[in-house]
Amino acid sequence: MELLDRYLQAVKKHLPWERQDDIVAELKANLEAQLEDKEAELGRPLTKEEMEAWIQQLGSPLLVAARYGPQRHLIGPALFPIYWYLLRLVIGWTTLIYLIAKTVEIGAKGLSGHAVLDAALRLPGIWLINAAVVTLIFAVVEAAGARFPGRYIPFAPMSPVWLPAALPPLAKSAGERPRSFAKALAEVIFGWLLLAWLLLVPRHPYLLLGPGAWVLASLPYKLAPVWWPYYWMLVAIQVFELAWSSWELARGTWQRPRRVRPLITHTMGLASLAILLSAPDHALFLLKNPAADAAAHGAALASLNKGLTGALALAAAIVALQLVWSVGKMGAETYRKRRAAQ
């Protein structure tokens, strides 16, 4: 009996304090009755070894006490799908808002590696804080729901509201509707025309700006030299697209879904924006006659360059996000196909 009392004392230590005595008294009555039955069967008291073996079989005090615990999860299965959905939503929107805000800030203050690194390093902390806040709210809701079941926490109305009629139309997968030959041919023809137009723009700017070309010529500003490598990068992108489309047409593979090509185009687009953002002192426009016009137009020019750099940084961030999204989507698709094939 002494061993049983020691066992119950050990169990008690781990029980919820407000019910310790009640639970232990009940457990003691049940186990003593069980022990009496065992001894009646044997016709003698249990030996020390038999008693130890029986107590051992009852389970460790910690685990026995744990079964009487009120709740063993932070967020239960009923609430978890809503929690997980909202957590992803919050993290996604927070990231987007943060990236836009940081891009604008960096664009306004001037692009530097330190600023970009600092913004990137702060992001995990922001994720963590948001995840902690959402988790805490749901843990409180869960705990309240467990304490007052079905009384104060209306779980059902918390499910996201949805209407069958508002469901989005069926998504067409890339391979579902292959491009027609006419569309592929039109792409090549218009691609050549676009390239020709692009190559003519430097000599005939009115092709791009219309009458604005003559207005621009009368202004005291001119394009900075950094626009030339940017221009040639645009030409390279167009040549790449055209070569790819022509090659597909020649090989008869225009119906195949395009997966890698958009990634390359996005990367080249990002590189072209990076060229502009790397302009010395972010000077995208210069004065035609700095000595004569600096006093009158210098401030306006600085403001123009600053605004334009901010806008370009924002565009670069959006293109980078698109690129990350495309790569992630492609990776997830590949993984899913591999899993399905297993």
């Binding site: 008294a25 009940e26 009555a29 049940n30 186990l31 009755a33 026995v64 079964r67 079941p149």
Partner: protein, 109 residues
């Protein structure tokens, strides 16, 4: 324990979990305390580990399905449980559900 064995054990426990509640409610139409309830269930082929049964009785009582009282029997204080009126109602619903599942599974096999 190999993977199929441990998987079987998990699925078996999952399958038994709901049945245990039904079995306990069925046996508590008549007042019993923990150990005699365990013996009664075992005698009818439903073995339940004490670490599962005793906390389960507490939970069912907290949910309002059982009532309990401390009483002396054989010179020992024991906690006797029996179905509450809500428990009786719940037992009828669960039994109906159990019978429907049982019929469905029988039809499927």
């Amino acid at each position: 324990m190999t993977l199929p064995e441990s998987l079987f054990e998990n699925l078996r426990l999952e399958l038994r979990r709901g049945c245990l509640t039904l079995a306990v409610l069925a046996q508590l139409k008549q007042e019993r305390y923990g150990y005699t309830l365990r013996k009664a269930l075992a005698a009818r082929g439903m073995e339940i580990d004490e670490n599962t049964l005793y906390p389960l009785l507490r939970r069912l009582e907290a949910q309002g399905l059982l009532t309990s009282e401390w009483r002396e029997e054989d010179k020992r204080n024991k906690r006797f449980y029996r179905l509450s009126s809500e428990g009786e109602e719940m037992f009828a619903w669960l039994l109906k559900e159990w019978n429907e599942i049982n019929t469905a599974i029988t039809n499927l096999l």
